[in-house]
Symmetry: D2
Subunit: 341 residues, 4 copies
């Protein structure tokens, strides 16, 4: 068999580990051949390929990013996108496709499967917000990086009697904020799932300052106050659609300073959360995802995605991946609230 592989969406530590596992097992155990498509769906759309053999995947296990490149190109929004992809798959003699990506990438994979392409999916979201799997790779690495950063903030906050705010990833789901905040002993954690009460946040800040310690607030980029409480600056978008300035972290700092008279400063972790070498957990999870994805191809079990349930890798329908987001449940947030203030 000749199998195509692509990675779509934002990069995530562990992508290379998936690619390596797919290719190593595919070649050495099943005798398949591989072709890499560059930059997500742009690759099969524009027939941009690269060789993908044992040599190509050597040494990539501990490396962040993706040797295949990535993009947010969506063939559904491009005229004849699906047809062009099918043509190019055929041109390359591709019998089956392994698509590694998030909601968007896997949504396309599902459409392709429905139109007859033999696809297996591997879920990827650094935010850990896919419903069908207990964890996605990249999340543990991001949480470790954020935790280490917040660990560092504690001593500065105390030495300077300042509130320090750490803004982490999480547009729709607060998993990174919840885990990193809990791991690093944050005094307040704010997540998108639960609009925050700025009065309560300020009360925590003030009560913390009454000890000889200083407050650390972890805020997911998608967190927001109860409607009407804070006049949020509308965020400036740049030409590429990215929020440029004044994320929720910055605005929260200003509001806390205004209300409490205490100094507050923000650190936005940004890209360093998604780059670099994956944690051991993510390397193992990504490797196992890759091994099971190629097994699914070998079994002819298409239209499926691999997923983690407990300690087992299972297969679920691609439709489950795009079904609904996995949000932080109330009980998990309440666990963290025990340590607030």
């Amino acid at each position: 068999m000749r199998i195509g592989v692509l990675t779509g969406g934002g990069d995530c530590p562990g992508l290379n580990a998936v690619i390596r596992a797919v290719v190593r097992k595919g070649i050495s155990v099943y005798g398949h051949e591989f072709v890499g498509f560059r930059d997500g769906w742009r690759g099969p759309l524009e027939n941009d390929t690269m060789p993908l053999d044992i040599e190509a995947v050597r040494g990539i296990l501990p490396r962040g990013g993706t040797i295949l490149g990535s993009s947010r190109t969506n063939p559904m929004k491009i005229e004849n996108g699906v047809e062009r992809i099918k043509e190019n798959l055929e041109k390359n003699g591709v019998d089956a496709l392994i698509a590694i990506g998030g909601e968007d990438t896997l949504g396309v994979a599902r459409k392709l499967f429905e139109s007859g392409v033999k696809v297996v999916g591997v879920p990827k979201t650094i935010d850990n917000d896919l419903n069908a799997t207990d964890y996605t790779f990249g999340f543990d690495t991001a949480v470790n990086i954020a935790t280490e950063a917040i660990d560092r903030l504690h001593t500065t906050a105390e030495s300077h009697h300042r509130a320090l705010i750490c803004e982490v990833m999480g547009r729709h789901a607060g998993w990174i904020a919840l885990h990193a905040g809990m791991a690093a002993g944050a005094n307040v954690i704010l997540i998108p799932e639960k609009p925050f009460d700025i009065d309560k946040v300020c009360a925590y800040v003030e009560s913390r300052f009454k000890t000889r310690y200083a407050p650390i607030i972890v805020v997911a980029e998608g967190a927001h106050p109860i409607e009407g409480q804070m006049a949020l600056q509308s965020n400036e978008l740049d030409a590429f659609g990215h929020v440029r300035l004044g994320g929720i972290g910055e605005q929260l700092a200003k509001e806390i300073e205004k209300r409490t008279g205490k100094e507050a400063r923000t650190t936005v972790l940004g890209h360093i959360q998604r780059g670099g070498t994956p944690s051991a957990f993510d390397r193992v999870l990504a490797t196992r995802f890759g091994l099971h994805a190629i097994d699914a191809v070998q079994d002819g079990d298409f239209g499926k995605m691999v997923a983690l349930r407990g300690t087992e890798i299972v297969r679920v329908g691609l439709e489950e991946a795009v079904d609904q987001l996995k949000l932080v449940p109330v009980e998990r947030y309440e666990e963290a609230e025990v340590f607030f203030g």
Copy 2:
């Protein structure tokens, strides 16, 4: 309520996180009081206690070890051990006990429960070999440390054309070797569950040397060859019952040198695997174990132990903890074997 807390057995990153969560939630949510017993079962045996309040647990979340100290003292092997413990619990006005430890510690906890003491257990084993829970805290930290160490060995092995062997913890179960070896791209992984074939190991070593890379072998301390294949040195035990010299790593290196004529060297990771700050995963898991243990006490649900199943914390009978070891199943080892050689 007045609640006693103790930690027994080998130390493990995350013990302090458990203690902190128990005490924080116990005091601030339920209004309990706490007393710490020092050095595992030695504490209640000899009535050696320490204060355990909010101040005592401040700042300990990121710290390795245990503020309560630990020991391997087994009251079952001491005359009137159980009676003395019950007396001292009573003397201290202790209504319930939270015992944090492994198979041995929880075995005693179970006996105490059967004789009427209100006990809740928290499982602890860095080897991850307890059957009742998906993971135990400390394991992820150990795997990360071992992975980072093995990452470091790769470049030295290649630069010097040597086989490098890394001996990791795992007396009965090979979980650390399996995960760290898989995460760090080891060429061979040897675990206690499967006696190894020294001929095959040497064949992997020789085939690896034919590339421009060098072999990395990860071996659990409890791994051993197929009977009769290698004349194992009987290990020298010191006064404290520890193996002193010539662990399996060293002996394997000698055997490989003898058989292949290639240089082989061993690094024994030892104690650095179990010390120091816990990974984010372990801090979150340990914190959640602590929160759910105090909930069980509050609910009067004694004779139980907290456990992780998927992403949920559940309660299981203490007898499950000591039932049987969780060994690496054949399928998991076969996943790793794809990358051997």
Copy 3:
């Protein structure tokens, strides 16, 4: 003798190591007593003290921040500031003072010395811009953190074909940018000492995109373009005088996007550069500074500051500390330029 100790200015990994060394040697070797003044010069101004004995400094060697707290309080700008300090030193029976801080703190120390107070200084600046010493502690830690962060950005930049900009500390001197940029293989490094040519920066960006790699730009917060080249937004200052938004990193990203049409994104490392456990280099340097500072006190050699020259700790006049900034010399920047583009 009874000796006062204080730490002033921004916090820096290694402050606690200095305090510990001063106190340990002062007590165990020389038999002195110590009193800690809280929050820099605010302590002796307002007579805010804390006990400082062997117990107080236990376990602080690996901890960031300062157990004494810090502030930017400047007694020169406060009526009778110097007199009040002298009174409070006398009230506390203080024979000599060890002041640990940067240009401002040591400037005050010098004034006090000139007015008769027995002072010894220990230099501290995370920016490494003090002329009298080869290195200051904290700098190596900051460079390591920045390097690790930039390492992480490489794979993301490549996977997404983006220019990534990393803004690091360095208001007047570009040492952190120079070292971290050189260590992490940045494609361009921009420092305050040399106004940058935006045309050249964009040319580097474009030439880099012609390879299969992506450009990484390290920019010191105090870097700026050749006059007139870019319309710099005037930075919004908050109530505490901090720049809030739109630092040079953000503005540079916008300009690069405008000029090259390539996506560019910025990460501002901020506070995580100055917090957390010090590197081994900084722990050793800070410890040696502390040991030599207490030696100077013991020798009655006041009005001096300790400094590193090669591998030796020497004493220099306090006036040297505040003399002039140590800027990155042209030759050092040219070394880095070899790797631009």
Copy 4:
């Protein structure tokens, strides 16, 4: 010009950074060509070469080991060794040679220079024991790794009331032990330069156990007791001349147990000290060494070696490199002794 490059002796984090800097500046600034010789002096002896251009050195800056490979081959001990090297240099059209290595490698370089070969040396020793330079690259990385490991041991030692011994590199000079021990707050540091008094070591151990802490002892592999104090086991050497078992760390543990009745355990850090990604300090130092080495070649300034003095890179005669070892001076050891016990 056509320039050969080789790396000899034990590997060291930073070797690749030197090679990269030499090649990048040599090609892009001076227009030279390069040829790599494999495995130290074995390369030019056996005419084993590899291409060395911009592409070959891409991405190697953060990688440990050496892309050129290394060995301890000594052409002085091989018949006609020098002649064969000169022949092969000529065969490859090599005008000048850059030799990166320690005492042995640079000793050969010096002999070759005396017999007419145009050589420039770059010093390398992870033990930091070369007299001509303030620091060598690799040392800072090793000290950081050892410090982090010892940090980890503290909590285990305390939790279990054990003496923990950490054996680090340093056959003739105790620099790694001194720096890591000082950085990690060891209670005793033992170095080859000063035979230790086992009575005193045991006294420190016992006094430490009287606190609620436990002793951490850092011992250089080359440390030894005052003559006659301990019956040292003669170490078993393997076929490759390596000490196999029972290094000084193990023997010290046994002796402490025997004399104090307290449990003592040893961790031998071994190879993990020399592998893996270099610290920022080492990357900068190695890069600067490379840049200045190629400058020396360009200047025709042969028979020299680059060296660090303060913050400057200077050139010294190759004979200085092999002159005498740089040992830890008494004053530096006395600084550390302040913290013993």
